[in-house]
């Protein structure tokens, strides 16, 4: 046996004997390891984290919007406010007058603006949501695209009393 081999044996025993003299731990159960791997490892775990984060962010956004509009965290309050508004609108109608659409629509648009504002504020903590929310609000007005009428020029009020004259077009020879 060479010096190197002798030294190798002595050194290995000096180093490894104290470690291998330690108590033997319980054998790891394969089932427990598989469960941990499924829960913590791989692409599935990353997807799960993303999905859960998305759900949490969406829930938070809805809660903030609702709270900003109604002053309450309870979604049932939003419904109550709409019901109340419908009743108020009906009460405001004069005798013989019909239609509360414009009145309720006005409330709904206020609600929409407040919700969008709250969502924007919430989106400030989230890089992706922030930019899209702002762009959407600025670049896409509520008017339909097909009309292509700038919002600032659309100042004509709705003709609630049906006083406008019907325009008929005639074909010229």
């Amino acid at each position: 046996m060479s010096d190197l081999e002798r030294e190798l044996e002595q050194e290995l025993h000096r180093v490894l004997d104290p470690i291998t003299a330690l108590p033997i731990p319980a054998r790891r159960q394969p089932e427990a390891r598989r469960a941990a791997r499924a829960l913590l490892g791989g692409a599935g775990a990353a997807l799960t984290v993303k999905v859960l984060t998305g759900v949490a962010v969406a829930a938070a956004a809805v809660t903030v919007a609702g709270a900003a509009t109604t002053g309450s965290l309870n979604p049932a309050d939003w419904g109550q406010q709409v019901t109340q508004q419908v009743a108020d609108c009906k009460a405001q109608l004069a005798d013989g007058q019909h239609g509360i659409g414009a009145c309720v629509s006005s409330f709904a648009s206020q609600h929409g603006s407040a919700a969008a504002s709250a969502a924007r504020q919430h989106g400030n903590g989230n890089g992706n949501g922030n930019a899209h929310a702002k762009d959407k609000n600025k670049a896409h007005p509520a008017t339909p695209k097909s009309g292509s009428v700038p919002r600032g020029l659309d100042s004509e009020p709705a003709d609630q009393a049906a006083t406008h004259r019907t325009v008929t077009s005639t074909s010229h020879p």
Partner: protein, 175 residues
Amino acid sequence: MESIELPAERERYEPGSEADFERLYRNTYRRILGTLITLVRDRATAEDCTQETYERAYRNWRGWRPDAPVEAWLHRIAINVAISDRRHQQLRSAGEMIRRLGRPAAGPDPSLIAENSDLVQALKKLPTKQAAALVLRHYHGYTNREIAAALGVPEQTVASRLGAARKQLQAVLGR
């Protein structure tokens, strides 16, 4: 060289027997851990690899043939686990770290001696199968035949691998 009877070989085991596998674990754990400490980066990893070795062995326990040397069989699995660990060292998942949480502290750590040993550090720089051959031969006292069974190679390959390992170890140690 005279064949050395390994401690685990004195025992008889029945393939597929749960009780026998537990006994095998108790009888061989320290020796498998001792080998793996010289092959992987630290003691915690060696412990994980040892457990992985027994998990793989357990999955194939029914197929083990009693005429095969059981400890060499376990070492063969352990060396494959070590090779796999070296390959995936950088991709080690957070799951294993989390699994280690809650384990009792080991107290004064004798593994520091191993981690500070020039020889052990030099062994870790060798190809896994070369380092394993040296440890099996000079720590566990395996014969070339037993090393051949553990590594899954012919005896002649073991002899040449041991020679190359010694040469490379000397170079790493600067002797």
